[in-house]
């Protein structure tokens, strides 16, 4: 038997430090609709083999027919496995006849009959509601744990448990692993999170991890951790050009490689074009860039690029310009940061633009979580020598009272402020507020958007 059971669920094994330890009892808990059954079936189908079949026992929560009907809508559901290495049984039906006290006995019989490598009881909580007293519950669960621990199989008890029951119910005492699934809903969107509440004798990535449910099942986006930078880590002493006329000269010929620059400005002040400039310039020099956008969709961005005389069809199709677009309505900040991180870790991306931070911030269920993510991301960029521009939208067109919340500006190595000057002919301006470890021009300059891109006019 392997050291860990792989879950078949992208991202979850990383969160669990490699997977589920074999011969353990896991509880998968969460409110109805959080994805418990999908995760459990995904795990079952990923691991079921004729030598180590999976036994999926339904109880009194959802009829077996409904679980199978719904399961078949998922890509991981392999109907050829059913009856061969994936066995479904209606335990609820059997227990209604014989009484819930017979549960350990019945599971023992099923172990001897089916010899499963994996056993799932869904919903276990529904079953325990048939137990009339706490004493009966404790005894039956103790005996069941004895059965499951005696035989070489990995077990999963699924239930609609609330967080506060964890300290009271015996199923959490016998569990080696507890996975909690959560869902936060707004009028227009839903965000799902998974947390490892317990993993006996092993480490896991702490905190809440975003997950999504699609036709391929559950996909987990492990929470971004700040990298452990070795004492030998040293930043590359190399400048990265933006390609924007005169801007590089204002910061000693470009940004330090691996630095993060915050560009703050109101709508229309030129943030997106500066970002496109930065990625396009890198792509034309052979540096892979990633543009992460939440406002302009790919068609709109292509039109902007065409208007500036660039060739989006070439750039976006293997030409070094990678685009990650997410609608702000459907945006889940964790999944985006995780996806950025994944692409950066692949090692090809050298430039990143995030346009804009405010969209990510608004999509985050927790503002501190957002700040922590950005900090971890900037540290990863530094460690991987990826140069990043992060755009931040200011609400006031003319007056600036602060660059950003959450001390994001403190995390950035460089800060550039864009704004409009009031008057009959509104002018765009650019001013460098801060550059870490570098001299810079601190005057305000006019910023012009021409049909060839952005130009900083010398003051």
């Amino acid at each position: 038997m392997a050291d860990r059971i792989l879950t078949g669920c992208e991202g979850l094994d990383e969160v669990l430090g490699g997977g589920i330890p074999p011969n353990t009892i896991s509880v998968i808990m969460g409110a109805p609709g959080t994805g418990k059954t999908i995760l459990a079936e995904q795990l079952a189908f990923a691991n079921a083999t004729p030598e180590h079949p999976a036994l999926y026992l339904t109880t009194l929560s959802e009829p077996l027919e409904k679980i199978i009907a719904h399961g078949q809508t998922q890509e991981f559901f392999d109907s050829n496995k059913v009856g061969v290495s994936m066995h479904y049984e209606d335990l609820g039906l059997m227990l209604r006849e014989s009484g819930v006290d017979q549960l350990p006995e019945m599971v023992t019989n099923l172990l001897m009959e089916r010899r499963p490598g994996f056993i799932f009881i869904d919903s276990f909580k529904a079953l325990t509601e048939l137990m009339l007293t706490p004493q009966q519950r404790r005894t039956v669960i103790y005996d069941l744990a004895s059965v499951l621990s005696a035989y070489q199989c990995t077990s999963f008890l699924i239930g609609e448990y609330a967080q506060e029951t964890m300290t009271e119910l015996p199923e959490f005492a016998i569990a080696d692993v507890v996975l909690q699934l959560m869902k936060y809903s707004t009028n227009v969107s839903e965000q799902r999170f998974l947390r490892v509440e317990k993993l006996r004798g092993s480490g896991s990535i702490p905190g809440m991890h975003a997950f999504a449910i699609g036709r391929e099942g559950v996909k987990v986006y492990p929470r971004l951790l700040t990298p452990t930078i070795s004492p030998n880590y040293s930043a590359k002493v190399e400048r990265v050009n933006t390609g924007i006329a005169n801007l590089d000269g204002m910061i000693s010929e470009g940004f330090w490689r691996g630095s993060t620059t915050l560009i703050a400005g109101p709508t229309g002040s030129g943030k997106t074009i500066i970002g496109l400039h930065f990625i396009t310039h890198g792509a034309l020099k052979g540096e892979q860039g990633l543009y992460v956008g939440f406002q302009e969709n790919p068609t709109q961005l292509s039109r902007v690029m065409k208007n500036l005389g660039w060739h989006p069809e070439k750039l976006l199709n293997g030409g070094g310009f990678d685009l990650l677009y997410k609608s702000p309505v459907e945006l889940q900040g964790d999944t985006v940061t995780s996806e950025i991180f994944r692409r950066v870790r692949d090692g090809k991306v050298k430039r990143v633009v995030i346009d804009a931070l405010g969209d990510l911030e608004r999509s985050s269920v927790d503002r501190q979580r957002f700040a922590d993510f950005i900090y971890a991301l900037t540290q990863w960029f530094a460690a991987e020598n990826v140069t990043c521009l992060m755009m931040y939208e200011l609400t006031n067109l003319f007056e600036v009272h602060g660059i950003s919340d959450q001390e994001i500006s403190n995390m950035a190595d460089n800060v550039i402020l864009l704004r409009f000057t009031p008057g009959p002919e509104m002018q765009r301006t650019l001013r460098i507020i801060k550059t870490r470890g570098s001299a810079h021009d601190n005057r305000e300059h006019e910023l012009q958007i021409t049909n060839k891109g952005v130009v900083v006019k010398k003051a």
Partner: protein
């Protein structure tokens, strides 16, 4: 309650009609062990503690004693030492089958095999078969 059905054929090898004495206090494990061992064609007797096991081993002279370490009155390792130090029982094969990771201690006590729980049917049966085969081979060489 109906007996569980199985589609696994019952083993018919003559050497597997061997008597096995199992020392196990947990009735659930006892039930599983009885089922799988009998399915494999062994004859199985159980005791729940080490002292009773010693008595039964002397009476029954089983081919193999399978013992958990954590059993009452006389632990599995002490039981093994006692069996191996007695001329009447020293030829009984002893397999330690425990949740306790103690393969070194089992070897030190004179055990012929060690298996870590939980019960893996295939591993259990093949280990017992191998023990019997080695013993038969040694007996043949001596004769």
């Amino acid at each position: 309650m109906p007996s569980p059905v199985t589609n696994r054929p019952v083993a018919q090898k003559p050497e597997q009609r061997a008597l096995i004495l199992v020392v196990e206090r947990n009735p659930i494990v006892q039930r599983l062990e009885r089922f799988f061992l009998e399915q494999a064609g062994f004859i199985v007797e159980f005791t729940e503690d080490g002292v009773a096991a010693l008595t039964r081993a002397q009476e029954l002279k089983p081919r193999i004693v399978v013992t958990e370490i954590l059993v009452p009155k006389l632990d599995g390792l002490s039981l093994c030492r006692t069996l191996k130090s007695n001329s009447e029982t020293k030829d009984i094969l002893v397999m330690i089958f425990s949740h306790l990771q103690a393969d070194d201690r089992a070897a030190e006590a004179g055990a012929d095999a060690f298996l870590l729980k939980p019960l893996d049917e295939e591993l259990l049966i093949t280990t017992l078969e191998r023990l019997l085969a080695v013993q038969m081979q040694s007996a043949g060489e001596v004769n």
